[in-house]
């Protein structure tokens, strides 16, 4: 792990989870969401109100612009800014949910790191877990309710193994929502008709974790 530039959050050495790493992750997530927005909307048109792809694209494109303009200098500041932008721009329920996920993860990271700005994967996993708990508390969803939680919880657990394992666990978690009946959000009004469709929120959560694994792979983290 190189130390150069770490305090500026700019160009940490290979494997450093510095501010630049988190900016690259969210940038990669924005690109992936942009590519997959139509698939997310198609999933949402089956059991929701067909706006998840457009909402996520709008939110993450705003995140991308803000991160480029402000260049926050620590991982926690990157996550806090991104979370706030999602709450203010997404428009749908995924705004406060993803916004809370990123902000609380950032806050937990800040509390764990103190003055440091270079978490390792284990520290990040613990912070992500705190973010996921905050999302559960906000939306009242638990595993099995056919929500983003079904992708996020197994991903956070698999992070102790590797970044790629976490991405894979999120994809499997999203796929596992297909037969579930929704207990939260608009889809829950559909009752048994919500069965047989992948949850769009779990699908977008899998995209975020996929972008994370790609970014970590490139960084050699």
């Amino acid at each position: 792990m190189g130390d150069e530039g770490r305090d500026k959050g700019g160009t940490g050495g290979p494997g450093t989870l510095d501010a630049a790493f988190f900016r690259r992750w969210l940038d990669a997530a924005a690109a992936l969401i942009d590519e997959e927005a139509e698939r997310l909307t198609a999933l949402d048109s089956a059991i929701g109100d067909a706006d998840h792809g457009a909402n996520m694209r709008r939110g993450f494109s705003a995140v991308r612009e803000s991160l480029a303009a402000e260049e926050p200098a620590s991982p926690q500041a990157v996550l806090a800014l991104a979370g706030r932008r999602l709450v203010s721009t997404v428009g749908g329920a995924s705004g406060p949910l993803y916004g809370t996920l990123l902000r609380r993860t950032g806050k937990a990271l800040g509390e764990a790191l103190g003055e440091r700005t270079d978490p390792d994967r284990t520290e990040f996993a613990a912070a992500l877990r705190a973010g996921i708990d905050a999302v559960s508390a906000l939306g009242g969803a638990k595993p099995g309710d056919k929500t983003m939680i079904d992708a996020l919880v197994p991903a956070a657990e698999a992070l102790s193994t590797s970044w790629e394992a976490a991405a894979e666990a999120a994809r499997e978690g999203a796929a596992a929502t297909v037969p579930m009946r929704a207990h939260k959000g608009r889809a829950s009004y559909l009752g048994e008709r919500s069965e047989g469709h992948e949850d769009p929120g779990a699908a977008s959560a899998a995209l975020l974790l996929g972008a994370l694994a790609d970014t970590a792979g490139r960084a050699g983290a």
Partner: protein
């Protein structure tokens, strides 16, 4: 027990700008003089679409805040979640802001009447929550 000279302010948060404005107007009309109680609508997204804007909610809450607290009423998923996320964050809304657990239309009217009668934030919240007890059958 209000601390400022003014009373509790109300914010109506809906997925739809039209719904929020209509509910706010209805409640203001039913409390008589609209001077008595400040009610702001925060409906839809900033560009006029369906959904919820955290920025509109924050602006509306500051517009009605007179120091005695702000009662926020919300309708569907994203409206409720946005307000809860703002409250959990604890930085942007006025200090004494609360999400009121009540049906939007009936709850807003009950809250407005209570606020216009000088009730404090807890009183406004209780009046709005009672709206759940009026069954229609």
């Amino acid at each position: 027990m209000s601390t400022g000279q003014g009373g509790v302010g109300l914010v109506v948060v809906s997925h739809s700008a039209t719904v929020a404005q209509a509910v706010a107007r209805l409640a203001a009309q039913l409390t008589g003089s609209a001077e008595d109680v400040r009610i702001e609508a925060a409906g839809g997204t900033e560009d006029g679409g369906l959904g919820t804007s955290a920025d509109l909610v924050v602006r509306a809450a500051h517009a009605v805040d007179q120091g005695a607290g702000v009662a926020i009423l919300a309708d569907l998923g994203s409206a409720v979640l946005t307000v809860k996320a703002l409250l959990a964050d604890g930085e942007e809304l006025p200090e004494r802001s609360a999400l009121v657990d009540a049906p939007l239309v009936e709850g807003t009217i009950a809250a407005a009447v209570a606020a216009s009668a000088g009730a404090d934030l807890e009183g406004v919240r209780a009046a709005a929550a009672e709206a759940y007890d009026y069954h229609k059958q």
